[in-house]
């Protein structure tokens, strides 16, 4: 039952809006997620949500349990769906707490969700009701619900010595004692939240306050990404894992990132998630150098948006990567293996001495653009059998049509002459065929079921499956049409773009089941395009964004997403 309540609490939180629960989140919380119900209810009303079949299924499922509740609406859970709901993560040396806070408007309705058997187990402290089991503890009063799951760290076993004396002379096992202690800790943690003063809450944290965005339906804030990951590793692997990370206090900058903020938006024409990561001082300098370059404009001469179902771009300064390599290694592995710090430094600097960074930077500049042009039918061979009149079999080669991708890969290089010499060497060794100004890569069909052509032009090394494309590229008569994409690619370190409508139209429906065809049809009609972009650093922040553009047919993208879930659930 507790699990169900916890799940409901999470579900409810998706359509809740704000009261001042925020001041109940302790200032040492490592991560906070908020669900902005105000915004959600602007996008979809409770009654509209109630009409979805998956919502009805959820209500029915809750009603089926041994509770006295009859659920017809999200409002019947008794939660304040007009208030903001929160999740926060807090950790100690022994336990991680995952805690949900939700406002309650109707305690009686909420209590109907609890089975008669569980009701008998409710403990009361003042006006607070407590229902605990070994996985979670749910508490509530007239105003709010606080549910918490205690997740014991592996290293808590180190306290065995502390617990063992309590077991001696008792029938309870060490594990039972440990379980009870965990429940006790969780209860204590929750009760401390009820009594928390706002001056000791997260609202005093400037980084957290700066991360809030009223337009977002959901926001997440992580105090220190490095610490969070280290903590997760400690939970998974125990102290042995932690020891390698803790030595020099570098764990907070281990991954180069400090605070992380993510916001989710549902807008009229699409859904968007933006992420901002604060980079530590050590890594800031490195990142600034590596990502200072912009993609070579020549790339756009060979980009045609009408022939791009999807693309992926990346732009960095390869010379800077190799120059910064020793520092990166020292930062990363020096922190993880403090006792080997000197060896790592000498080793990485030796590599740096041996490498000619400038030459590597000319061979591979660091610009890359991969374009998925099309999916086309190609004739491929396969082995089958024919049988003579006495049914002795004979191997025969037959042909069939397969759908294969057409793509173009562009890699920045200032060493065109060298690459051409290398290709000619390939011709000598029968690995390539010299065509007029370009080369056909010779590889067994089994290893490469498509034709592949390569050439170097305008400081770009091309690989493409289309002979027509490569021919036009080397002759200089390729017709480009870059549209809005030049801005997207040039202004960002990396991008990943999908033209949904075009891509979905290429999916062969005959290969799909009826259900998959329904999903595809919905996607084709409603999801127009999607992209991910990671922009250059501003100050000590790196910004990235994922956006799925949708049609406006449903009024807003949240309704459209819920409609899609409805299709998936059918």
């Amino acid at each position: 039952m507790k699990k169900i309540l916890f799940i409901i609490a999470i579900c409810i939180s998706y359509i809740s809006t704000a009261q001042n629960l925020e001041s109940k989140i302790p200032d040492d919380a490592k991560a906070v997620v908020s669900i902005n119900g105000d915004r959600l209810l602007e996008l979809i009303s409770a009654s509209e949500f109630d009409n979805y079949s998956f919502a009805k299924m959820l209500f029915k499922e809750v009603g089926k349990k041994d509770s006295t509740a009859v659920i017809h609406s999200i409002k019947d859970f008794g939660f304040d769906i007009n208030s903001k709901a929160y999740y926060f993560y807090k950790t100690t040396d022994s336990i991680n707490y995952h805690t949900m806070l939700i406002n309650i408007t109707d305690r009686v309705k909420f209590e109907r969700l609890i089975s008669e058997r569980d009701k008998e187990r409710i403990e009361k402290i003042g006006d607070i009701n407590i229902l605990a089991n070994n996985s979670s503890t749910t508490t509530w009063n007239d105003n709010m619900l606080i549910a918490s799951m205690g997740d014991k760290k592996k290293n808590v076993d180190f306290h065995e010595e502390r617990f063992k004396p309590q077991v001696e002379g008792e029938e309870r096992s060490y594990y039972q004692i440990q379980k009870e202690i965990k429940e006790g800790w969780t209860k204590e943690h929750i009760l401390s939240i009820y009594n928390l003063n706002s001056s000791a809450s997260i609202v005093t944290n400037k980084s957290y306050l700066a991360s809030k965005d009223a337009k977002a339906v959901s926001s997440a804030w992580i105090n220190n990404y490095g610490e969070l990951i280290s903590g997760a590793m400690s939970s998974m692997y125990g102290m042995a894992g932690m020891k390698t990370l803790s030595g020099t206090g570098l764990k907070s900058s281990l991954y180069g990132f400090k605070s992380v903020v993510a916001n989710l938006y549902f807008e009229e024409d699409g859904m968007r998630m933006s992420t901002e990561m604060e980079v530590s001082e050590d890594w800031k300098k490195i990142f600034k150098k590596i990502y200072k370059s912009k993609m070579n404009s020549n790339f756009f001469n060979y980009f045609n948006e009408n022939k791009a179902l999807a693309y992926m771009s990346f732009s960095m300064d390869m010379e800077a990567v190799f120059e910064e390599y020793p520092t990166m290694m020292a930062n990363m592995y020096g922190g993880m293996l403090p006792e080997s710090r000197e060896e790592i430094q000498v080793g990485s600097e030796l590599v740096s001495i041996l490498l000619d960074e400038e030459a590597i930077g000319e061979l591979l500049t660091g610009d890359m653009l991969f374009v998925l042009n099309d999916f086309g039918e190609k004739e491929v061979t396969y082995t089958s059998y024919d049988y003579d009149e006495d049914y002795k079999r004979k191997e025969v080669i037959k042909t069939k049509k397969d759908i294969l991708p057409d793509f173009t890969l562009m890699i920045g290089s200032k060493k065109g002459k060298f690459l051409t010499k290398a290709a000619l060497l390939g011709v000598k060794h029968k690995l390539a065929e010299n065509k007029a100004g370009y080369f056909r890569v010779l590889a067994p069909k089994s290893e490469m079921p498509f034709e592949l052509y390569t050439a170097v032009k305008n400081n770009i090394l091309f690989f493409t499956t289309s002979e027509d494309n490569i021919s036009k590229i080397v002759k200089g008569n390729y017709v480009n049409n870059v549209g809005e994409h030049q801005k997207l690619i040039k202004n960002n370190i990396s991008t990943f773009y999908i033209n949904g409508q075009q891509l979905f139209s290429k999916v062969p429906a005959s290969e799909l089941s009826r259900k998959e065809r329904d999903y595809l049809q919905f996607a084709q009609q409603n999801f127009t395009e999607a992209y991910f972009k990671s922009s250059k650093m501003k100050g000590n922040k790196m910004h990235s964004e994922i956006k799925i553009n949708t049609t406006t047919s449903k009024g807003n993208s949240l309704k459209l997403m819920l409609d899609f879930i409805e299709v998936l659930a059918q």
């Binding site: 491929v380 396969y382 082995t383 089958s384 059998y385 049988y387 009149e389 006495d390 049914y391 079999r393 069939k400 397969d402 294969l404 067994p444 089994s446 290893e447 079921p449 290969e511 089941s513 259900k515 998959e516």
Partner: protein, 255 residues
């Protein structure tokens, strides 16, 4: 995580049984010999796409009931997809084995078959260019073949295999019987809809050769060669699944 693993195990289990039952001895020999190994190695590949594949079972019998069997699993028609899939670690929750893993599993399986009494001259080929895998051996009698099948099945299954001999050459009655005890249609219904695509164009061919002429055959789809000493039966996986046909047959030979 536990639920995920349980679900995954159930998937493997369900897939394993459907496949084993569908292709009876062949896959028991080629695939089901190692429960956790080859089964999902091949299935991991096969279930991922609308595949075209064929299995050919060729058996030449001597008068005394001994003989030679060659089994071929030909995935050549799906090689484009398989080549792409082999580049991945996993797809749709199925582990994609590397060439090394496949070779290792096959070698382990063959080692186990070698230990079976009455089995000799074991050979196999692995062709990753066309995705064709063959296995051949001599057998002293059909009991040896059935032992191979039962040896690599669970206790319950092994007992059923012994009861319903999948291969039976009755010298006294001059008959050869190809049989299996599985309810393939029932097992097939347990598989996920998306996994069923694998069987859309799959086929199973059996060719049996004898030293004496064939008098009759119970399976009306089987074709007797002009020499009367060979018989071929090609059945689509769809027909087996829909109970329209099967590879079961009883062949009567001249005394």
């Amino acid at each position: 995580m536990k639920m995920f693993l349980q679900k995954r195990n159930r998937q493997y289990k369900s897939i394993k049984y459907t496949f084993v039952q569908l292709f009876s001895f062949n896959l028991q020999l080629i695939v089901a010999m190692h429960k956790k190994g080859i089964i999902f190695i091949f299935l991991g590949l096969l279930f991922l796409c609308t595949s075209c594949f064929e299995i050919v079972e060729e058996v030449s019998f001597n008068k005394d009931g001994s003989g030679h069997i060659t089994l071929t699993l030909n995935l050549s028609k799906s090689k484009t997809k398989l080549n792409s899939i082999m580049l991945l670690d996993s797809i749709n929750d199925y582990h994609v084995p590397s060439e090394v893993e496949i070779k290792k599993q096959i070698a382990e399986t063959l080692n186990r078959v070698k230990q079976i009494e009455g089995i000799s001259n074991l050979k196999n080929t692995i062709n990753f260019n066309d995705f064709i895998f063959t296995f051949s051996c001599d057998f002293a009698d059909t009991d040896a073949l059935n032992t191979v099948v039962s040896n690599f099945s669970g206790k319950k299954e092994a007992a059923l295999i012994q009861q319903n001999k999948h291969f039976n050459f009755d010298k006294s009655k001059n008959t050869f019987t190809r049989n299996y005890h599985y309810d393939i249609a029932k097992e097939f219904k347990k598989t996920k809809m998306e996994d069923r695509k694998v069987f859309e164009t799959a086929s199973f061919t059996t060719i049996y050769r004898f030293e004496t002429p064939i008098v009759s055959s119970e399976n009306l789809m089987a074709k007797v060669a002009g020499s009367k000493k060979a018989i071929m039966l090609k059945v689509s996986a769809q027909d087996i699944i829909q109970n329209k046909n099967s590879i079961k047959n009883q062949i009567k030979l001249q005394p």
